[in-house]
């Protein structure tokens, strides 16, 4: 019970409270975030972290678990959420609004009630089980949404696929017709080899697209080589948009890698490249840039296209927001991208000027930085 009650010195001193409470820097009034503490870092605590940390109006004050190896604590380190050694320190954080007790331990409830300040609430027991069902449902919906949006986008590949399949088919048909009465044996051999090559090219299209359209498996994070993924995305984006007249510049720093789901990252890159090319209306320069220094990895996708007005820029990450005509865009592309990047603990930003173009920047903080911070204390 020491973990539940005693008031030892934990990491509470570093709890991320707002450095300047009451000072409103932003022009648009944003509601004060709800300050939430999570008690228990098992499966439920981990899932809560994943959901809550994506929501701008919720601030996760900290998480705690009696088991220092609980999976949620590892996740908390990844996303820079403070870990408390003792429940009491977490519960007594200033300005706490809500405690989520996900331990499932009946003994925890009275302890929390004793510690908590009068203006904060506790969710535990049945209420938590109910919430857990919703959290799981939300996670299923998000992966469904990503998949649906991806499949909707594949519709726009039709012209590109038809072009890339019917050209080699025309070659195969023409050569085969010629072979029916070709007398020169050398020519027969050469044309048969051309047919074999054309068949291989055609099957490569199916391979690319089936691997792209498959459902991304959740929680399959691994080290993804960003430059290779960008090249792969460029190959797939060719089906959706005409790249023939686009000048593609690659400014890759060698061996740049981030931790994430490779399928999701591919989807992100395909979307950003497709958007960039569409903004240029077939003429311009697409720049793909990667860099990694001082624990920060960045990926930039820039175009020299039409650019966006500030009022559009402010809304592009909202779900269902689109400037494309009805039937041409779901308005979910950038919304999904943002979710994927947030799940990877990264951020996405845009800089754009009307008539000059746009640059989307993805920023990932190397997890080693987080690891160092936690091992220091």
């Amino acid at each position: 019970m020491d973990w539940m009650t005693s008031q030892g010195k934990g990491m509470a001193a570093t709890s991320p409270t707002n450095a300047h409470p009451g000072i409103e820097i932003e022009q648009t009034p944003t509601p004060r975030p709800m300050r939430v503490a999570i008690v228990g870092a098992g499966r439920g605590g981990t899932a809560l972290l994943d959901v809550l940390h994506q929501i701008g109006t919720i601030e996760i004050v900290g998480i705690t678990d009696k088991d220092p190896l609980a999976p949620g604590l590892h996740r908390a380190r990844e996303i820079n959420v403070t870990i408390y050694d003792r429940v009491a320190d977490l519960i007594k954080s200033p300005g706490l609004n809500l405690v989520m007790d996900v331990t499932g331990d009946p003994a925890m409830v009275p302890v929390l009630h004793e510690l908590i300040s009068a203006d904060a609430d506790i969710i535990s027991g049945q209420a938590w089980r109910f919430l857990w069902t919703l959290v799981q449902h939300e996670s299923t919906l998000q992966s469904e949404l990503l998949h649906a949006e991806k499949l909707a986008g594949i519709g726009s590949f039709a012209a590109g696929i038809a072009h890339d399949m019917n050209n080699p088919l025309q070659l195969i048909l023409g050569l085969a017709e010629n072979l029916t009465d070709e007398k020169d044996l050398d020519a027969v051999h050469a044309q048969a080899r051309d047919i074999i090559d054309a068949v291989k090219r055609t099957s490569a299209i199916c391979r690319d697209l089936t691997s792209y359209s498959r459902r991304t498996s959740l929680r399959q994070d691994c080290l993804v080589h960003v430059n290779g993924k960008l090249d792969e995305a460029l190959k797939i984006a060719r089906y959706a948009v005409a790249l023939q007249d686009i000048d593609v510049r690659k400014l890759y720093q060698p061996d740049v890698a981030v931790k994430g789901n490779p399928d999701e990252l591919l989807h992100v890159f395909v979307n950003l490249i497709t958007n960039a090319v569409q903004a240029m209306e077939h003429h311009g320069t697409l720049t793909l840039e990667t860099s990694a220094e001082a624990g920060t990895t960045q990926v930039r996708v820039s175009d020299t296209g039409c650019g966006m007005a500030p009022e559009v820029q402010n809304r592009i990450f909202e779900p269902f927001f689109t400037t494309k005509p009805p039937g041409k865009g779901t308005g979910l592309g950038l919304y999904n991208i943002k979710n994927v990047i947030h799940r990877m603990n990264g951020s996405i930003g845009v800089a754009s000027h009307i008539g000059r173009g746009s640059t989307f920047t993805l920023t990932f903080h190397d997890e080693y930085v987080a690891d160092e911070r936690t091992t220091q204390s």
Binding site: N166, L171, Q244
Partner: protein
């Protein structure tokens, strides 16, 4: 095969006619050339609309080009732009579209603009030759 047909003599040899194939894929140009040369046509090539306009505007081609076979999706000047140019400057040269992408709306619009045929790849040699032969007939009618 080399009998007098379109009324033009090329390099002292009579042919069934002079055809320009416009496609960004060298493979397509190769098989179209193969098929049509066997059928006695003189075949010229261009890899995009811009090159095609250059070809038709050079020397005797202005007068001697009988049929243009044109792809749609190409870099620089695409098929739609090239076809608009040909219809305006060379309205008597029949056009055949040979595309990888069947698009009913585009086909209708192009046929309205006077394109003789809208062929979707892969097209059989016999069908291509028949289409070129029909275009040649139209070309001859235009000369009457």
């Amino acid at each position: 095969m080399s009998e007098f047909k379109s009324g033009f003599f090329v390099g002292g040899e009579s042919t069934n006619g002079r055809v320009l194939i416009v496609d960004d894929e060298p493979d397509i140009r190769k098989v179209v050339r193969m098929t049509l040369q066997k059928a006695g046509y003189d075949v010229l090539e261009a890899e995009n609309g811009e090159k095609a306009i250059e070809v038709i505007n050079s020397g005797e081609n202005r007068l001697l080009l009988d049929v243009i076979i044109c792809d749609i999706r190409m870099p620089k000047v695409n098929g739609i732009e090239a076809i608009a140019y040909f219809r305006q400057h060379y309205p008597r040269v029949p056009l055949i579209v040979l595309t990888g992408f069947p698009d009913t709306d585009m086909a209708t619009s192009l046929l309205r603009q006077g394109v003789v045929d809208y062929l979707v790849k892969p097209v059989e040699g016999e069908k291509l030759k028949a289409s070129v032969a029909r275009a040649m007939e139209q070309r001859e009618l235009a000369h009457l």
